[in-house]
């Protein structure tokens, strides 16, 4: 325990960044644009914080709301609406809010906003309510100082607060959260035309110098454009200034249009989940065989991005916990795969199914299927609507393989608890060693120790794979030449903000 404690001070006492050193002026920067248009590949499903689960939800949500904390580009947790956010034991988190913040309706931001957030998430019918049950109390010391108290060490909580710990105003209702959200963030919702666009205007009272960044424009319109070629055309013709999800094959079109294609690794992991609860994948050698059978790097280079690297397990890179540079990915070795299949009693291969959402990269799964076919595994591809796909995570009648990705992975807590833990809500994997590691990482306060436990989990997941490990995701954003100083975030939110640090 003593070694553990010694880590605590260094790791969890999250930097109390003195904000006085930052520009606090509310005067807009000189190069503020009058209006920018952002083409997103899909419309947010929900702006209600507790019910937001996708990058497109979060792109709009975090334009309107501020969280207590945010991720720095290197994966560190930085105070955002909080001025100080620290803990010695990962049980009690001390928060001091910045002074003078106000909501879009003019009411002051006080520590009651934290309580409201915790109550909202805990009471919502949400996939993340369970995570918040660990919080026993929000102790409001005064308007600016509070303590978030947990029932047990919860070192993973700050990374959840980045996504869902947004400050909520007094008097919000389910309806107002869903359609007329009021936050304290950099932009104010002006209108939401269902199916076509969300328009935001700059919040004149926003404290410049937030680690999230400063507004780029007076007015921001998010449009929903599912076709990548149309997004690129919008950027080229000047209809849009930022476009998300540019396929690798269209990066050249962005550059030809005189704009910039920014490629950057996202802290997210792409994988094919293997259902190990039924034959033939209940045999670990079969799961190892499929990992050996797929030339992941060749597929990544050809179809995804040359910056996407084959992963050894589910942990994408060193900005997040659990990544182990010394752990080698499975080698592409079809012969070895055939041997393993033969040892497991499947010398003649077998037929299985792989599920994918209709809007996802079906070509990637086709390439994987072709390589599995080469070792005798015939894969039938099943496309589903997103809603059906999401219902099928733990459905034992659903296809054994499913192509998906997960983000953010700064802290793998949610991912491993939901998908790897045998009790996990989305899990079809069972391994007592993994369960034990996941449990001990969840309550280990010291970051270095948690990192080591997750690395151990990575090795366990290689011995007994529950996934075909693919690559770290790479975001390709098209940026208009009119916009300067915009940089992509590691969690892939597309915000109309310019990071100041």
């Amino acid at each position: 325990m003593s070694t553990r404690r010694s880590f605590v001070a260094s790791s969890l006492a999250v930097a109390a960044v003195p904000l006085a050193t930052r520009a606090q002026s509310a005067t807009p920067a000189a190069d503020l644009l009058p209006e920018i248009v952002i083409d997103l590949s899909g419309e947010p499903d929900n702006l209600t914080p507790a019910l937001s689960y996708s990058t497109r939800d979060w792109s709009v949500m975090h334009s309107i709301y501020d969280s207590l904390v945010d991720f720095a580009p290197d994966g560190q947790i930085l105070p955002q609406a909080a001025e100080v956010f620290e803990s010695d034991d990962a049980i009690t988190f001390r928060v001091r809010l910045r002074a003078g913040m106000i909501f879009h309706d003019g009411s002051p931001v006080t520590t009651a906003a934290i309580t409201r957030n915790v109550e909202h998430i805990k009471s919502a019918d949400s996939q993340i309510s369970d995570l918040y049950q660990v919080i026993t109390e929000v102790r409001q010391i005064d308007d600016l100082n509070a303590e978030i108290v947990c029932v047990e060490p919860s070192p993973w909580l700050p990374s959840q607060l980045v996504v869902w710990g947004v400050l909520l105003p007094e008097g919000f209702t389910d309806e107002s959260l869903a359609s007329a959200p009021i936050g304290s963030g950099p932009y104010i919702l002006e209108s939401w035309e269902q199916g076509s666009a969300i328009t935001l205007v700059r919040n004149p009272d926003y404290h410049l110098g937030s680690p999230k960044g400063d507004p780029l424009a007076e007015r921001v319109t998010y449009r929903f454009v599912p076709e990548a070629a149309t997004r690129v055309a919008d950027l080229t013709t000047g209809l849009a200034h930022l476009i998300d999800a540019v396929p690798k094959d269209q990066l050249g079109a962005v550059a030809d249009g005189g704009n910039v294609a920014v490629s950057s690794p996202v802290l997210a992991t792409a994988f094919i989940r293997i259902a190990t609860d039924a034959a033939p994948f209940d045999e670990p050698r079969v799961c190892q065989a499929v990992n050996h059978a797929v030339d992941v790097q060749a597929i990544a280079d050809a179809l995804v991005s040359t910056e996407a690297k084959r992963l050894a397990s589910v942990f994408p890179d060193a900005r997040g916990l659990g990544f182990d540079a010394s752990l080698s990915p499975f080698a592409y070795d079809p012969e070895k795969a055939k041997e393993l299949l033969a040892e497991a009693g499947y010398a003649d291969g077998f037929v299985t199914e792989a599920q994918i959402t209709a809007t996802s990269r079906t070509d990637v799964l086709e390439a994987v299927a072709e390589q599995l076919a080469a070792v005798g595994i015939k894969v039938n591809i099943v496309t589903s609507e997103l809603a059906t796909f999401n219902q099928d995570w733990s459905n034992t009648d659903a296809p054994a393989l499913r192509y998906a990705s997960w983000r953010p992975m700064y802290d793998p807590f949610t991912f491993v608890n939901l998908l790897v833990n045998s009790e996990g809500y989305l899990s079809r994997y069972s391994n007592p060693t993994a369960d034990e590691l996941i449990r001990s990482a969840a309550i280990e306060p010291a970051t270095e120790s948690r990192d080591a436990i997750y690395q151990e989990l990575g090795r366990t997941l290689q011995d007994q794979p529950g996934f075909i490990y693919l690559w770290n995701l790479v975001t390709n954003v098209g940026v208009s030449s009119q916009i300067e100083g915009w940089s992509p975030r590691g969690d892939d939110y597309v915000l109309a903000l310019r990071r100041t640090q």
Binding site: E227, A228, A229, V232, P247, D249, Q250, G252, A253, A298, I299, D301, A302, L303, A358, T359, T362, D363, E366, A367, A369, E370, N380, I381, V382, T383, S384, E385, T388
Partner: protein, 301 residues
């Protein structure tokens, strides 16, 4: 006397079809003897039956050779797609698969539509009203919406696409056949036959079938083309044929995100759709001229 506007006369100009027209006779003869309208379809059928044996496999991938341009642009054949598969082989196989689906769909739609149309036209009364109600219901609901609902409920498969195509395609036959059957059953010679004691079966065999068969066949052929267009549209939207089944609509969709550096994928698949539909329509046109007694020998019905 009933007058019909014939195929080769100017639109809107009607003439008494009891009077033979020598010029049209000659044209009709030429059409029968030298059926140029059949040439594209014959070429197409030859290609889809012979070429798959010669060409490389349409499913073999080669990531190293992805997006090889077509002949004339530094590559060979029609080039390769995003997974390095031979585009010509894919288009040929896709054409064959799409044709097969269209033929099955058109056959199903014809059988259903003809039965419904003839029953409605011959029996009238409640049968007519039911068919009319069904036809109007199908017309009232947007096809794509139905497609989305079918895919959402029973999943994306060839079967669900066929169900959708047949479920909406039968009304074409039903509408035409209903009108024709009604016209024939009210014709004087049928009334006369009925008055002389001919049974319904006899009337159906001797009068209805010979009169309705030609138009049914023509509509059937025309519908193969439109079924192909519909199935391609559905597949392009992602609610038609499954990914692994190579189809023309699927290739167009595959190429959509490759337009910048692989324009040939969608372009050639799109041209193939145009060619197939055009050749089917030309063949249907020829068939109409050959088997329609009005156009062939100008003998009144």
């Amino acid at each position: 006397m009933m007058t019909l506007s014939s195929h080769s006369s100017s639109p809107g100009v009607s003439r008494d079809i009891t009077q033979p027209d020598r010029r049209e006779d000659r044209r009709a003869l030429v059409n029968v003897v030298i059926p140029w309208r059949l040439v594209p379809l014959v070429l197409l059928l030859t290609a889809v039956s012979v070429l798959p044996a010669i060409l490389s496999s349409p499913t073999t991938q080669s990531l190293a050779d992805r997006l090889t341009p077509p002949f004339g642009f530094g590559g060979t054949g029609l080039g390769t797609d995003g997974l390095g598969r031979d585009l010509l082989a894919r288009i040929i196989t896709g054409t064959r698969n799409s044709l097969a689906i269209s033929i099955v769909a058109a056959t199903g739609a014809s059988l259903l539509g003809i039965t419904a149309g003839v029953l409605a036209g011959m029996l009238g009364g409640w049968a007519d009203r039911i068919v009319e109600l069904l036809v109007e219901s199908v017309l009232a609901i947007p096809f794509i919406t139905v497609g989305l609902m079918v895919t959402a409920t029973i999943g994306q498969s060839t079967t669900s696409m066929l169900l959708l195509l047949i479920g909406t395609g039968w009304i074409t036959h039903a509408q035409i056949l209903r009108a024709q059957a009604r016209m024939v059953s009210q014709a004087e010679y049928v009334i006369a036959a009925s008055a002389m004691g001919a049974s319904k079966a006899h009337i159906a065999r001797r009068h209805l079938v010979p009169n309705l068969l030609p138009i049914s066949i023509v509509v059937y052929f025309q519908q193969i083309g439109s079924m192909l267009l519909w199935s391609a549209s559905l597949t392009w939207l992602g609610i038609g044929a499954p990914i692994e089944q190579i189809s023309l609509g699927g290739i167009v969709r595959d190429g959509q995100d490759l337009l910048y550096n692989g324009w040939w994928v969608s372009l050639f698949a799109g041209l193939a759709i145009i060619y197939v539909v055009t050749s089917l329509n030309l063949a249907a046109d020829w068939l109409r001229i050959v088997i329609d007694p009005v156009q062939k020998g100008h003998r009144p019905l």
